[in-house]
Amino acid sequence: MKKKVILAVIIMGFSGLVAQIILLRELMIAFHGNELSIGIVLANWLLLEAAGAFFLGRKISQAKKKLAWFIFVTILFSLLFITAVYLTRVFKEFLPVMPGEGLGIIPMFYVSFIILFPVSLLHGALFTSGCKLYFVFSSPEKTLASEDKLSAFSIARVYIFETLGTIAGGIILTYLLIPYLHSFEIALIITLLNIGICAFLLEPFWKPRTPAITKTGSFLSISLLLFILYLLFSASANQLHLFSVQQQWKHQNLVHYKNSNYGNIVVVERENEYTFFSDGMPVITSPNPDIVYIEEFVHFTMLSHPAPENVLILSGGAGGVINEILKYDVKRIDYAEVDPLMPAIIKEFSTLLTERELKDKRVNIKEVDGRFFLKRTPNKYDVIFSGFTDPSTLQTNRFFTKEFYTLANNKLACNGILVIGIPGSLTYISPELADMNAMVYNTLQTIYPYVRIIPGDGINFYLASRSPEVEEIGHAEMIERLSAHELQLKLVTPGYLEYRMHPRWLEWFYDQMKGSTEIINSDFRPLGVFYSLVYWNEKFSPTFNHFFKRIENLNIYFVALIISVLSVLFLTISSRTRNPLKPALTLCIFSTGFAGMLFDLILIFAFQVLYGYIFYWLGLLVTAFMAGVMVGGMWMAAHIKKADTGMPALIKLEIVIISFALLLPFVFINAGNLLVYTWFDYTLRIVFLILSFISGILVGAEFPLANNEYMKISADLGGTAGLLYSADLMGGWLGGIIGAVILLPVLGLVETTFIVILFKISSLFTLIILSKR
């Protein structure tokens, strides 16, 4: 029976991860997919799971029919998961928004909260209830001396197995589920799995002399199992999916919907125009793209170069840009697009425009991250087009940093030009827009001696080069080249060039930029994310503007002060309670949850910066972390079983965590320069895996240890498990929500690590002081 509980816990971990990731992905399609929206959804999940573990889970574990409740909650969780997926598609119906309208911070918050509420809450409750269940079915063993030791051991064991389930969930989701199935099919599989395990758990009760209720329960779950199988094999799941997707894309003719590991791609057809949406945002329109953007982007640049032959496009090539470049006598066009699904779908729904682009022999599509490609290519380019218009995530910010500009500079031929477009205006530039532009301009100027700005009505273009020609060239020479190339363009005519290259726009632009930031954007201090967020916020939630302005001036001394003040407060309050060790242990777990989340975030972030968005490696990093958690938990649980380790062990563990945090930044800071050596390149990847694994071990080992200590002073298993698990989640919540959005962008990698260290030191001191009482 205990084995069955273990299996149930593993499946619980599996389901939890799948539910979290699937719901996050679905919500990203409806939200904007910037760092803040990801943070809000993850934060809500963790918060609700913590609440579920603490409040609901405790209640369930105190109930009489523990197994029945566990099964009931499991099935309810699965069914509500399906409902939640449906809601993520149709929720806009209930909001006072027009179709196609984007959402601000507050709607994102309450929408994700309401949708995640039942799923996450119930899942949190399952953890606590699972611990109690494991305990109940372990009693017959009588291998351990005291009951509280058994309790602590139960919690540890459940924690470990849940993590195992999470790892399995991550791998299976990435490799088997997402590439082949849509969200409803995946949700149905989860439901199937859960119902199966419930039937399995109820097996001892199938014998005839049991009371009617549990017998009906098992029959019900098995028939439900059959019914769900039926749904899976019939077209109903698909129908639900199609129906809900049509609701999501109301009034629009959806012709394709596919998920890849990078995101969701949708194709909408309307009057022979195909628009490709990536995570809900339109990216390509074919065969009639946004001519103004595309012609300006391509021709302003190509005409600034005497004879462009080798061209590189980093994202956003198909759908017009390549087509315009092909009008010149180019010899090669390399186009790096990280999601292989996008070119595949473009081919499937090709129009004359995209066919011309993708079938031309001079065009080479590289299905790889742009920076990764750039680092390893032996080619030198005459023009590099950076198709990213917004550093809105930690991922895209890598194309706006001084390290990237250095890299691009190294791959530019002698007259080579790098061109970047970011939001702009010819009417009025707000301070937020000015800051974003200033940041890009300042960063470019640290690497390139000549940077030409062409302000535009929507997008400002920055042309950077080692050659002065890019700044000196005027509309007359560009018009000459236009006729020399015999180009017949729709927008860029001699009159248009004269109008747009007129110096008055630049004069006005400089005037508007007065007083804007002097900051530079770098890989390890991704301020681009912050400025992009502030600009986005100006559009959608201007009420938060003051808040963001204050954050911009955040510095580490201020945060250190806050942490110190809060710890002193915490210390004084907890020393007055009956058992001061309880809050101390809770703080310990909370701060480790925070640290663990930030380690994870930092490692992934650093890896992306140094290597690029290599999806499978990032998956490996997360898996290594979770594996570490599991191994750490297992080792510690075994240790507890053998000998009473006690408080000194916990203190030592805290010190190890702090030392690890101290070591972390040193690994990355100079790694970038050494990466040119191939041996170092591969060694560093292994180092990343090892570091993830170690940080997992540290987090995983502390949980059982703290639980053990806590159980010495508390008799309530359910309560302890609930409290400490939710403290762990809440620590992760705090780390998640302020880490990616505030700490990393504004303070940077090194200072963020210091914050973690400070927080851990304060928790260590609290522990030491309060344990002496």
């Binding site: 904007h32 209640k59 119906e93 209930f94 909001l95 006072p96 027009m98 179709p99 196609g100 309208e101 984007g102 309401i114 109301k250 009034h251 629009q252 909408v268 309307r270 009057e271 022979n272 125009e273 628009t275 949406f277 809900g280 945002m281 339109p282 329109t285 009639n288 946004d290 001519i291 103004v292 012609e295 205006s425 010819l426 009417t427 009025y428 530039i429 707000s430 301070p431 827009l433 363009l489 729709k490 927008l491 005519t493 009159g495 248009y496 109008y499 008055r504 006005w508 508007q512 559009k539 959608f540 201007p542 503007n545």
Partner: protein, 391 residues
């Protein structure tokens, strides 16, 4: 006991949420505009601005004093009731001790020289430039606003503005040899007094006055401004309430404005931004064109503009070209003489053709005029009279 209370609370909270959501769903279904109007007005400039730099301004026109120092602004169809210390929906008109002030008077945040085709104005001085001015604020809340930085903000939030008296603007136009002054970017209604004073001075200096509006100005102030106006471009957002839900406004007042302008013999052109799924149905376009032909004139130029995702309307596809061509064909079939398609550089319909002989009158590439075949206000090929302001 504690558990029971907690449970009660949770139950009530959940029921409350469910009720709210279903209420929202039904209200939205029945009357989308109600909810959006409510939502939009709460986002209005209803609060006053304390703090350091409070913008001063000239006294406003067209308002009625009510009791207890309250004011009803009579400038546009919103007819905001403004309490003391607060501002109207447009964020520009402030009640100070029972008097209404225009806080952006003389404080334009954007002043530029643009080609007149950009307004769009196709039958007025083609190929020439205009001085465009815009300030903070607007009485609409269009989700796809191109100039949202200006229109959806109060002047304090924008922070940056020039100090130009109406005379400064007129002098600048004369000095730079620009024949026309245009009030555009945001909504001229919300800086009415400034527009009016500039217009009066401009007429004395023999300059042309043009403005681009959403048509929400009430007849009285409208007629006064029209005395000094040469041409107007009105943005007709669509021909259904659904299209106007997108802007948190109503259709009917705009139609009244259009008729008033036509009756005053001021030159009128209409622009319609065609947004997929919102206002692009053939029926809606047909009704709009028939109304223009019947209530205004078949000689009023109509521009169909291509929509690109902007501001808050970010999850729609751009307008398909065939939609615009269908709109063009519909308009021509109904009998409108001058129809153009905008924001599609290089498209044939960007140019103006003679309704009689079909020869090209003005060849346009985006905002650039490359050929002008109108002589003395007539078609150079067949002599048909082409209405507009040509000199």
């Amino acid at each position: 006991m504690k558990n029971a209370n907690r449970r009660e609370f949770l139950k009530r909270a959940l029921l409350g949420c469910a009720a709210f959501l279903s209420l929202g769903y039904f209200i939205k279904r029945e009357n989308g505009s109600f909810f959006r109007g409510f939502y939009a007005s709460s986002a209005a400039g209803g609060h006053s601005f304390g703090g350091a730099e409070k913008a001063k301004g000239n006294e406003a026109m067209y308002y009625v004093a009510l009791d207890r120092n309250r004011i009803r602004c009579e400038l546009c169809y919103r007819t905001c009731n403004i309490s003391e210390g607060r501002r109207g929906f447009c964020k520009n008109r402030e009640n100070r001790r029972g008097k209404l002030y225009n806080v952006v008077y003389g404080k334009p945040s954007a002043v530029h020289i643009d080609p007149i085709e950009k307004e769009p104005q196709h039958h007025m001085l083609p190929g020439t430039n205009m001085i465009c001015i815009g300030t903070a604020g607007c009485n609409f809340r269009c989700l796809q606003c191109h100039n949202w930085h200006l229109s959806q903000r109060s002047i304090e939030e924008i922070g940056r503005y020039h100090n130009y008296t109406p005379q400064d603007i007129v002098d600048s136009a004369i000095k730079q040899g620009v024949p026309t002054i245009s009030s555009t970017y945001n909504e001229p209604t919300v800086f009415y007094e400034y527009v009016l004073d500039i217009a009066k001075l401009a007429k004395k200096a023999d300059l042309r006055i043009l403005w681009h509006s959403n048509g929400y100005m009430k007849p009285e102030p409208l007629k006064e401004l029209l005395h000094y106006t040469d041409a107007v471009t009105i943005d007709l957002k669509g021909f259904s309430q659904r299209a106007y839900d997108n802007s948190a406004a109503q259709l009917e007042p705009v139609l009244v404005t259009l008729k008033t302008i036509k009756e005053s013999n001021t030159w009128l052109e209409i622009v319609n931004l065609v947004i997929p799924t919102i206002n692009d149905s053939t029926q809606e376009i047909r009704e709009m064109c028939e109304w223009i032909r019947d209530e205004l004139s078949e000689e009023v130029p109509l521009h169909f503009s291509r929509f690109f995702p902007n501001y808050k309307l970010t999850n729609l596809s751009p307008t398909p070209i065939e939609t615009l061509e269908r709109a063009y064909d519909t308009a021509r079939d109904i009998g409108l003489h001058y129809v153009t398609v905008g924001n599609v550089p290089g498209h044939r319909y960007n140019s103006t053709f003679c309704p009689k002989c079909n020869d090209i009158l003005i060849r346009r590439v985006h905002f650039n005029v490359t050929q002008n075949n109108i002589t003395d206000g007539n078609c150079a090929s067949c002599g048909h009279n082409i209405p507009g302001i040509w000199t």
